[in-house]
Symmetry: C2
Subunit: 578 residues, 2 copies
Amino acid sequence: MDQQRVVIIGAVALGPKVACRLKRLRPDFQVTMVDQGEYISYGGCGIPYYISGDLSDIKELMSTSFHMERTPEFFEKAKDVRVMTRTRALAVDRESKTVKVHHLDNGQEEDLPYDKLVLATGSHPRRLTVPGGDLPQVLRVANLNDALVVREQISQGQVGKAVIIGAGAVGLEMAEALSDLWGVETTLVEIAPQVLPGVLDPGLARMVLTNLEGHEITVHLQETVKEIRAGRGDYALEVVTAGRTLDADLVITALGVAPNSQLARDSGLLAGPSGGVVVNQRLQTSDPDIYAGGDCIENIHLLTGKRVHFPSGSLANRQGRVIGTNLAGGAATFPGIVGSFTLKTFDMAVAATGLSLTAARREGLDAISALVIQADRAHFYPGQDLMYLDLVVEKKTRRLLGVQGLGANGDALVGRINSIAALLPRRATLEDLSNLEVAYAPPFAAAMDIVNAVANTAENILDGYNRTTDVAEFEKCFLTDQPEDTICLDVRGAQNAAPYVDLFGERWLNIPQETLKDRFAEIPADKRLFVVCNSGVRSYEALRQLETAGLCNAVNLQGGVAALKKSGLLAGGEEEKK
Amino acid sequence: MDQQRVVIIGAVALGPKVACRLKRLRPDFQVTMVDQGEYISYGGCGIPYYISGDLSDIKELMSTSFHMERTPEFFEKAKDVRVMTRTRALAVDRESKTVKVHHLDNGQEEDLPYDKLVLATGSHPRRLTVPGGDLPQVLRVANLNDALVVREQISQGQVGKAVIIGAGAVGLEMAEALSDLWGVETTLVEIAPQVLPGVLDPGLARMVLTNLEGHEITVHLQETVKEIRAGRGDYALEVVTAGRTLDADLVITALGVAPNSQLARDSGLLAGPSGGVVVNQRLQTSDPDIYAGGDCIENIHLLTGKRVHFPSGSLANRQGRVIGTNLAGGAATFPGIVGSFTLKTFDMAVAATGLSLTAARREGLDAISALVIQADRAHFYPGQDLMYLDLVVEKKTRRLLGVQGLGANGDALVGRINSIAALLPRRATLEDLSNLEVAYAPPFAAAMDIVNAVANTAENILDGYNRTTDVAEFEKCFLTDQPEDTICLDVRGAQNAAPYVDLFGERWLNIPQETLKDRFAEIPADKRLFVVCNSGVRSYEALRQLETAGLCNAVNLQGGVAALKKSGLLAGGEEEKK
């Protein structure tokens, strides 16, 4: 292939990766990156850690791992890539193969000729379209300029109270950034009935909510912001929802992002329902001389076959390499995504991959979920902590659809999620996960590790051995409605059960599992039983015994008392691990 | 299926799992476990942590996660499983379907009838067959009794010096256990030319060795023990090798384990070349009424198709469930293993899965390996540390064959290894790993995570873009032979390079990569070049530039200065991360 001129529009994540990969393979190619911004090649995902103060200098987000700033000069000198910043791409003329750009600093326009073009235009944060949504103290933290403004305000002590609108990943990261180190009184407002909507199912989302509240974040769910207006008292702003008025010195909107595809669509390229540019597996748009990747495209979801918008800095990097290879004459492919996700929120890590139960059912899949709570290493090894994994499986095929989890040890959690992410595109089944050969040594895993255990639990549910219920059902049927015919059978030791026996009286029956087979007579045969232990394992054992004894009106509470506590429904002393 | 009598021989790992699973599915079955030992259902892998003092009470290794001791009485009461300890199985009569057992306490024999039999006989540590190998102070730490003896001796201050024979996983764990907390002067003697032979390739093994030596463990490689004899001075024993005589109060042999299959073979069941019992995917032996699993069997290695002995407490648990399901009338399968492994050795975690390069080549596979050293999270995120991953790939098919790694953060390392372990049985290729969708957030991963990066590096090597060499070659050709026509081109900043320029003079040329394209003239065209940076990434970039400039006599040192230092070959100040 002859030398070519390649123009890349966008120089934050995908663009630089394309440029560098391509130049390593084809040093003779002329590569030009244009970006309307001042800063390029930065780690936008690191913004919350700059604002929190974990990073002292914003330049760390623009530096290589060997501490060189990724300036336009760096790209010219180290990579032989031409960079034009503060240069906006106005139009693509696919006939003449030129991009018309506008130099923001001098107002001039220029036509850049290309043989191949790459759209790396990224995404933009959704705007809050209510009165006052465009007030100057309402920020979006979408780029380094925003980040500088927010951190300056906070560090100068100008922010006593903040309201964050949107309890997705960025909203949660910002809540921690503002409150944890700077002590800003922070309120999250979310339109959905849970935090992390679209990512987590309601059960785990509730545990995240409880954790946020435990860190003094106020969270208002199912509330729509009606207006933002100037404050009348000590605070600059008032955020008005249907239910209340919140004072704030600073309002941050975190309503998710939408693909920047206007330029592509204006050029006649195909875009999908999400607004993202449509590409094939080689990441070519509907014009084979124009590639696109990263936040501006739609990806095939490998579990549903549908096109989705899934913005991710990591995806942008992987796709950038694919485009770079293909521009150089290679034949790399990017088949699609499974939607892996992770987030640190205070002392809790959250991670997920694939479909949530909600998403699976919305897709018309007949699915169930299985929750397992288990130590993240050998239960006898010092420093172990509980990990929560919720696995989603298609009933009929037993195909793995997704998993969500949380725990204190993020590395341990993310490792488990990733091992399942590796299985998801391959139509793996429960049996594959049950036999998944995770490495074992007591400091890092249990002999029956939680990834195997959660598959086993799901299998037991599907095979009818483990009849389960969840925290939401328990709350409704045991805590709220309190029908007389429903009692709790606590199969742990007397010491663990005592506080709840005190609290609930006859409605909380304690029979340790190892004594159960001699004590069936104590269980009222006419009552519905919630069987509970610390995590759901001993209660499963008890459930099997009850059924053998003909007591079939029992269900096992998945996650047991650990899940109830994590959800903020029960208080009480430190429990044993299972 | 009618009620059946199931006898399980062995009650440590696999046996109890079979029994419990089976009883949950078929409470009507009569299940009897026999074991010649006194203790049952214990976590043998935890012994080093009991000896080290990380666990205060050995009962923690015999307890459930909810702190109930797994005694025979516990199994009877909580699980309805009959347990006979100190009961040795002498013979299986497959005609009459009985097991003859010998009660060690009263000397009586008994015939136990079975409908289905399970062999969970485990493995035994290999004996040191030299004079003195059976002296009382020569221990094997294979069971809880050994563990009690060792810890008692150490805690009473009776052990000043110890010699451990065998530098496999158990040898290394014991070395840490003895030296780290108790301050025992510990020496490892290994017959192979490296530590962890059969697990790691020589490159990473050398880094583990350097780390051991940094923690004051003396290691003698390629030394055969000739004799152990009573000491003549202050120490109880002398360990005599070909090269030296070592004093010791305590000698521990850690020579690996061999399957306990005598009973099976005496019963006419098929065993393989490793001595392990042969089973099918349902884990049935050559007699379909007899199942076997855990350390006493051979497994199919899914990458070679061959039968291997791969002892693992985790495998035993997974296989136990498969057997329990099948005994209950189910149809579970265990297709085989990939050989996942992990180990903590002082402040370093080691993990691997699949084939090492050595093993792959021994199997006749035409394979290469690629080493990547990279931060285990976003390079700007506080607390990140370097992780080392070495990927093994078949050249022609680009099929993933295995990966080995090490790093300070074991959870992060094991998570990466497991995600690759999930791919290995599925004939996944480099492109699958390059696109593997690991979850991304700066606290837990880099935007281009090391699992993706190592696939990309391997691809660059296979495609001829990255011509690499390794630490061993560098040592031989640059440090030892010192030929005049070989120089090092250090493409890092001047500050990083300065100590080596001082040390090596003209043989260590420093030209930072970002200035390289203007300074080709300074590079002697007639010399062979080792291009180095901190990790191998900038030097790859430089290599591409050199080649474009017609300087083709250069190779990139994989892992760069970080690898040299980790291998104990270069000292020097703290380096930047890449």
